[in-house]
Symmetry: D2
Amino acid sequence: MRRIDNFKSIIDQYNVIFFDAFGVIKNYQGLVPGIEKTFAYLEQQNKEYYIVTNDASRSPAQLASSYHKLGLNVITPDRIVSSGMLTKEYLDLKVQGGIVAYLGTENSAHYIESSGLHTMPISEVNESNIDKVNALIFLDDEGFNWFEDLNKAVNLLRKRTIPAIVANTDHAYPVTVNSVSIAIGGLATMIEKIVGKEFIRFGKPDSQMFMFAYDLIRDHRPVSKKEIVMVGDTLHTDILGGNKFGLDTVLVLSGNTQPTDVETRITVTGIVPTYICDSAVVDLGGFNF
Amino acid sequence: MRRIDNFKSIIDQYNVIFFDAFGVIKNYQGLVPGIEKTFAYLEQQNKEYYIVTNDASRSPAQLASSYHKLGLNVITPDRIVSSGMLTKEYLDLKVQGGIVAYLGTENSAHYIESSGLHTMPISEVNESNIDKVNALIFLDDEGFNWFEDLNKAVNLLRKRTIPAIVANTDHAYPVTVNSVSIAIGGLATMIEKIVGKEFIRFGKPDSQMFMFAYDLIRDHRPVSKKEIVMVGDTLHTDILGGNKFGLDTVLVLSGNTQPTDVETRITVTGIVPTYICDSAVVDLGGFNF
Amino acid sequence: MRRIDNFKSIIDQYNVIFFDAFGVIKNYQGLVPGIEKTFAYLEQQNKEYYIVTNDASRSPAQLASSYHKLGLNVITPDRIVSSGMLTKEYLDLKVQGGIVAYLGTENSAHYIESSGLHTMPISEVNESNIDKVNALIFLDDEGFNWFEDLNKAVNLLRKRTIPAIVANTDHAYPVTVNSVSIAIGGLATMIEKIVGKEFIRFGKPDSQMFMFAYDLIRDHRPVSKKEIVMVGDTLHTDILGGNKFGLDTVLVLSGNTQPTDVETRITVTGIVPTYICDSAVVDLGGFNF
Amino acid sequence: MRRIDNFKSIIDQYNVIFFDAFGVIKNYQGLVPGIEKTFAYLEQQNKEYYIVTNDASRSPAQLASSYHKLGLNVITPDRIVSSGMLTKEYLDLKVQGGIVAYLGTENSAHYIESSGLHTMPISEVNESNIDKVNALIFLDDEGFNWFEDLNKAVNLLRKRTIPAIVANTDHAYPVTVNSVSIAIGGLATMIEKIVGKEFIRFGKPDSQMFMFAYDLIRDHRPVSKKEIVMVGDTLHTDILGGNKFGLDTVLVLSGNTQPTDVETRITVTGIVPTYICDSAVVDLGGFNF
């Protein structure tokens, strides 16, 4: 049996902490109880930290605001790296003009807009404007009619040879303690298989997410990968991606991976975290501080 | 370049003809023009024929009736082998009692019902009856709310260890000359991947479809596979399945496979039909009859 | 926790028993201890039985002989249905003349030969005879040089549009209590992916294996699928295949599936056997006979 | 029909050029004829350039030396970014001590060695040292016995929960105008499937390759992705990877992608290069220089 490590002792050894959001800082009920102590400790110790999240449903400002509403005011927009940000960077660099059709909420599309690009829900694509569509983005599983619009996405990609970008690689996400919802990444994979084309995906475990956060640090100071630890609840996104990028990794058991099957899951997948902790909560009891 | 064969000369060499339906006998506009001549010829020559189709949306009686409405009265229910029939046989043999939840139209489910089995649209599955659900069937892409009911299917399979049966393996089907719709087989594959379980699929290229038709003949007389030829428009269902079952095969160019890329498609997939014909229409011009 | 059933009570309810070979009747050390009692009981009760095995390394006569050497004399060649037999039937029906190139031992190829067909180890295919090669068969993981001949198989399939037949779908097989070997099915899947063509596979869980055994019975008497039970040690071949064909199924814990993880494996895969037994050994203790 | 662009006009618009090696600069016969003019032009124009290559068979120094032997002396080791370099960085950061078992030539392993790490061909792993093996690397398809050592790799990964790193993602590579060889990436994918674990892969189209080259530039000066163009002959590695990283891309028709099917391949895959050129040779005819 693998040992359970003390989270505080771990972060004491690193200068920068990357956190996954869902299952680590928050869950479907709100904040993970006690997580505010972790951020208070990080602030006190002058540690740098970032939220690295597969989420393209909202802008960093809106994501930060959602933490503030839960009482976690230290999470500012500049602390957040989302797969939506990578999608926006891709569009800025690679799509010059025209329409970007999307599947998702209006809100998710608003953030993607930039000079020269016009976003349009796929429901509004028609014979008169289809030739101006230069990309299709999969942003969120909400905000559209699945039957109408998924079929429309298939036919758009059959008619136009344009890049299809998946802004969230997750196939499902938890909505209550016992149930999940199909995520936009799952819908996109179905459509990719039907049309037979190769889609572009942004999100963990892909290195580009970690690189984006890494570059945010390097913009203001030199940093080595050895100073950084990635904290996540999911082996095949957070831990696999962190390991591959060369970071040390902490698997926490407060989300996707259960204490009862952590050992089996590690053996079966071959994805090994550097550490395992019950949660990312720093316990500042008198005895250990 | 491969030669194009004469369809009449081919069927003259066989006693039994298996036909795919869509792209061979009918298309999105109705009957393939002239196909009634083929069936008149088969009747006159006392050839046996069957329609072998990936379709679980209707009963054989209803499928036959749809041909009658188009003016093709010779297609009787006993001539039809559908993936829906295999699903029904599976349920009869393997599911004893309880509820069979389904995704599809009411009509598609009606045919599946049999003594002791109660079908129920997945939308009606709830906390009070979920423990009585003993199978989930994917019948048709219509008749349900994709957003609500696909998510419900995922959670049903996470809570209950029951067989999931896919009654149509196609991932998409044509609806107009230029557009397709996502088929129930495509939706089922997405859900299979999300829940990580192994689904049971009925439909070409699987041998069970061909065996079912083969057994219909053997019920009344001995037959060798060498007497049968399979006619279809799709390499990876009709031709691959027919070849694997040991039948000679005819690829017709009136549906999925275009004359301009038939050569490339055969080379790329490695799926080689015994013959290639423009269509399954028998040309009874004076010179060759 | 699922109940463990008594094997004798189960087979008492059926007229025909299909057995997987490896992990059920024999293992890497020889016969499963006590299995001879099972066959003595079946003979005494006049039950019909067949061995349904993914094995193309030897002819049915040689497979039967291997049981005789172990002391199990009741297993006669006509009791054996192997994936090699399906491969032979395919070649007889579908390949008219020319050379059949193969990967495997000379012995495995000898059985496949028939009038008009000439088998040739792929190592002997060269510029002068390559145009006469009309099929490639994957028979066994032994009998050839992996480096030379796997590369040669890739290039043969790039140059010739011919069927590639995989006569054993297994990807690995046990050789000692702790180690496995890569099987010809695993090598074939790698080559299929590299050349991008669609191969033809014979072996469980495919229905064609079960149909072949089912037809052997029907050749001499009518039989219903309800009279037959399939006994195997592997969920995704024996149990999935048996279930799909409409048979009741027994998972035995004497091979691939361990008692400690049978519950997890069933839940994770969604493949549910009708019964679970420790082994296929009939215990004829005084109290129950 | 897409237009064919002039390579010189393209590189005139960028400050940094990334080149794929095989199919762009060299092929199985040696240098691509005339390619030395391209590098002379780049030197004259003070353009920066890098070779970004899926190759872990040799060190950058040895790769550079192989160009010198062909007469291309400008390619220095610091111009080369290989998937082997990423593998080395991973081992330096993530594997502390112990043995790194490998499949490949002695030469390929030598470069990977570093302080504290001991490389060992998998053929030498045995009962006495297996517990010290902390990683398995797939480096090259040569230098080992496929039958013995691929089976040994499978069993090593079944016994030890350690990272498996694939240092070259290619599944096959050309050896003559008409034939290919199975690459180590193809062998690794087979083993990954058999053992069911998730391997770590370094090589295009993964962003980490491009990021490594990008960082080499940023070490000495600021650079924007808009200043860089990626030149390659393969859609799903060079072009897909370059596009995803946010670079403009040039598909050249001197390697994997043929002039006759470039249009089809782009439409089928949905991978669209910014430009298409016959080759990466700069034609310095009097009229355009």
